[in-house]
Amino acid sequence: MRRLIFRRLLQTLPLLFFVSIACFVMVKAAPGDPVLSFVTPNMHAEDIERIRHNLGLDKPAYVQYFLWLKECLTGNLGYSLINHKPVLDQILERLPATAGLMGAAIGLAVLIAIPLGLLAGANRSKLVDKLVNLLAYIGVSIPLFWLAILLMYFFSIKLHWLPSMGMRTIGMDSAFDVLLHGILPCSVLTIGFLAVYVRYIRSSTISQLKEDYVQIQYAFGSAKRTILFRHVLKHVLLPVITLLGMSMGDLVAGAIVTETVFSWPGIGSLGMTAVRGMDYPVIMGITLFSSVMLILGNLLADILYSFADPRIKTTR
C-alpha cells in the first residue's frame, strides 16, 4: 500500500512538469501584449520598452519559463501586473469563498444525485426514471449563466427574498449573512453538478444491475431493496470517489461564470478580471494552482479507492 502511494506520487511529478509547461505556453501563445495594459497615450516608445524590460518580458521564452518555474517552486507565483499584489496571496485570500461555495455545491449535488440516480437506474424506463432523465438533460443543456440570471431576477429582484450580489452585506459580518448570499450561486452550481452526477450514477446503477452477480441475487430470493443497497450501492459509490477527485480542480478554480454573475469574490471572478486585463501572472497562477489541486485530488481518490476495493489492495 505504501509502495502504491509512493509510486503514484512519483508518477505525478512528470505530470506536474508538463502542466507547468502547458500553462506557460498557453498564456504565451495567447494574443495580446501585457505591456499594452500599462501604456497611456502620452508614453514614449522607450518608456514602453523600459516597462517590457523591467517585467522581464524581453527575454527569450524558455528563460522566462525557467525563471517563472524557479520562483513558483519557492512559493512565489509572481505579482499581478495590475495591482502588483503577490498572486499566491490573492489566490489564498479568495480561496475560502470559492472552496466554501464549490464544496457546498459539490457536496449537495452528490448527496442528491446518489438517491436520485439509484432510484432512476433501479426503475429504468419507468416514470421516475424518465422524469429524472429529463431533468438531468435540462440541467446539462441550459447554460448556467442564464439560469443564474433567471434565479437572480426571480428571487432577488421580483421576490426580494435573497441578495443578488457579493458575499456580504456591507457593514454586516455574520455567517448567516454569508449563507444567505450563497444560496443563489450555490443553487446554480449544484444544479450544474447534479445533472452530471445523476446521469453518471444512473448509468452505473443500470450497468451494475445487469451484472451476473447482481442478477443471481434475484435468483437467491433477495429483495430488490436489499440488492440495491447491499450489492449495487457500493459499486456505484466507488467511482464517485474518482468523480469527486476530478472535481478538486473545480473546487479551487471556482466557477468563472457563476461567480462573475453573482459578483462572488472567489477565484473564478479573480480569474475573470485577470483575463480581461491580460494579467498573465494571475492567469498562470490560477491555472497552475487548480491543476495541482486536480492532480492531488486524483491521487487522493486513487488512494481512497485502493482502500475500498479489495482487488487493488492485494495486487499491489
Partner: protein, 303 residues
C-alpha cells in the same frame, strides 16, 4: 413417465424480448428467444440442454429460476406453477432452485469474501444464523468442492476460474436445493479442469440427491453427465432423447450437424467423417413443427 417422479415440467414456454420501443414505449419488434418449449425433468436426473450460441438455452434456464416473467406457458416445479407465484410465494422455491452461471468471473461479487459470498443465500433464507455455525458449514462446503478452509477470507480475484466456479457451486449448494440450473458451468474453464468440475457435480448430485438442468453448447461433455438431452435451435426444441439414444441414433438434421461438430481425437476417423451441415434456411418454415415421439422417450420435430 409416472407423474409424481417429475420435478420440473415445462409446458409451451415462451419468452420474447422487445428489441425496440416506439415513442410511446410500445414494442416495435420482438426477439423470440424461447418460442414454445416443453420438456420434463425427473427427480434425480440430469437433463442436458444443448444448442448453438443464441438458441435460447440460457433464457430457458433463467425462466426456470424465474429471473424472467414468461411471455407464455407454464413451468411446474414439484407441482406448483411458478408463473403464477408472486415474490413472497416464490421465496421457498428460491431456496429449492439454485443456479450456477456461465461466467465464473462475473457471477461473484468482487467486493465480498468467500465466507460472505457463500453465506449470502443462507442470509436470505435465514439459515445458520450463528456466526460460528455458519463458518463451520461454509468451511465444510468449501472442502466438499475441493477448496480449503483457509480460503474463507479471500476475495474472488485471488482465485482461478475453476476455483471460482467451485465457489459458485458451493454457494448454490449452501441452502440444500433440490434442483440446480447449471448454465454452461464449465465452458469458461480450461479443458483440464472441465472434467474435474463435471465429476464433482456428479458426486455432489449423488450425495445430495440433486436434479440438474445442465446447459452447454457442445455435446461432448453433456453426454457424459446427462441422462436425457434436449437439442435447441432457434428458441425451440428440435429433439429430445436419452443421451445414448441421441448419440447413436440422431434423427433431426440439426442434431446430426451438432454431433458432426464434436472434435474426434482420431485424425483418420475425423477425415473419413464427412461433416454434416444442416441447411437452416431451407427448413425455416418447418421450425414450428411439433415434437413427435418416434420411439419411447425419443421426440423429434418434423424436418
Amino acid at each position: 413417465m409416472s407423474d409424481h417422479n417429475i420435478l420440473v415440467d415445462v409446458r409451451n414456454l415462451k419468452k420474447h424480448f422487445s428489441k425496440g420501443t416506439d415513442l410511446w414505449g410500445r414494442s416495435t419488434e420482438v426477439l423470440k428467444a424461447v418460442d414454445g418449449v416443453s420438456f420434463q425433468i425427473r427427480k434425480g436426473e440430469t437433463f442436458g440442454l444443448v444448442g448453438e450460441s443464441g438458441s435460447g438455452k440460457s433464457t430457458v434456464g433463467r425462466c426456470l429460476i424465474r429471473l424472467y416473467d414468461y411471455t407464455e406457458g407454464e413451468v411446474y416445479f414439484d407441482g406448483h406453477d411458478l408463473s403464477k407465484l408472486g415474490d413472497k410465494q416464490l421465496k421457498p422455491f428460491r431456496r429449492r432452485i439454485q443456479t450456477i452461471f456461465q461466467d465464473p468471473y462475473s457471477s461473484l461479487n468482487p467486493g465480498m469474501n468467500v465466507l460472505d459470498l457463500i453465506g449470502e443465500p443462507m442470509n436470505i433464507h435465514g439459515l445458520y444464523k450463528k456466526e460460528e455455525e455458519r463458518k463451520e458449514v461454509v468451511s465444510a462446503l468449501l472442502e466438499k468442492v475441493g477448496l480449503k478452509r483457509e480460503h474463507l477470507y479471500r476475495y474472488p480475484h485471488e482465485f482461478s476460474g475453476g476455483q471460482r466456479q467451485r465457489i459458485s457451486i458451493a454457494r448454490a449448494l449452501s441452502v440444500r436445493p433440490d434442483f440446480v440450473v447449471c448454465d454452461e458451468p464449465i465452458s469458461a474453464l480450461d479443458v483440464s479442469v472441465q472434467a474435474q468440475v463435471v465429476n464433482m457435480l456428479e458426486d455432489l448430485q449423488a450425495e445430495f440427491g440433486l436434479t440438474y438442468l445442465f446447459i452447454a453448447h457442445d455435446l461432448s461433455m453433456v453426454r457424459h453427465i446427462s441422462d436425457r438431452i434436449g437439442v435447441m435451435y432457434g428458441g425451440r426444441l428440435v429433439e429430445v432423447a436419452d443421451s445414448d439414444e441421441l448419440y447413436d441414433n440422431p434423427l433431426h438434421p440439426y442434431t446430426k450437424a451438432l454431433l458432426s461438430a464434436i472434435p474426434i481425437p482420431d485424425p483418420r476417423a475425423a477425415r473419413e467423417r464427412s461433416a454434416f451441415k444442416y441447411d437452416f434456411e431451407a427448413s425455416g418454415d418447418k421450425q414450428h413443427a411439433e415434437l413427435r415421439e418416434v420411439s419411447p422417450g425419443h421426440f423429434v420435430a418434423d424436418h
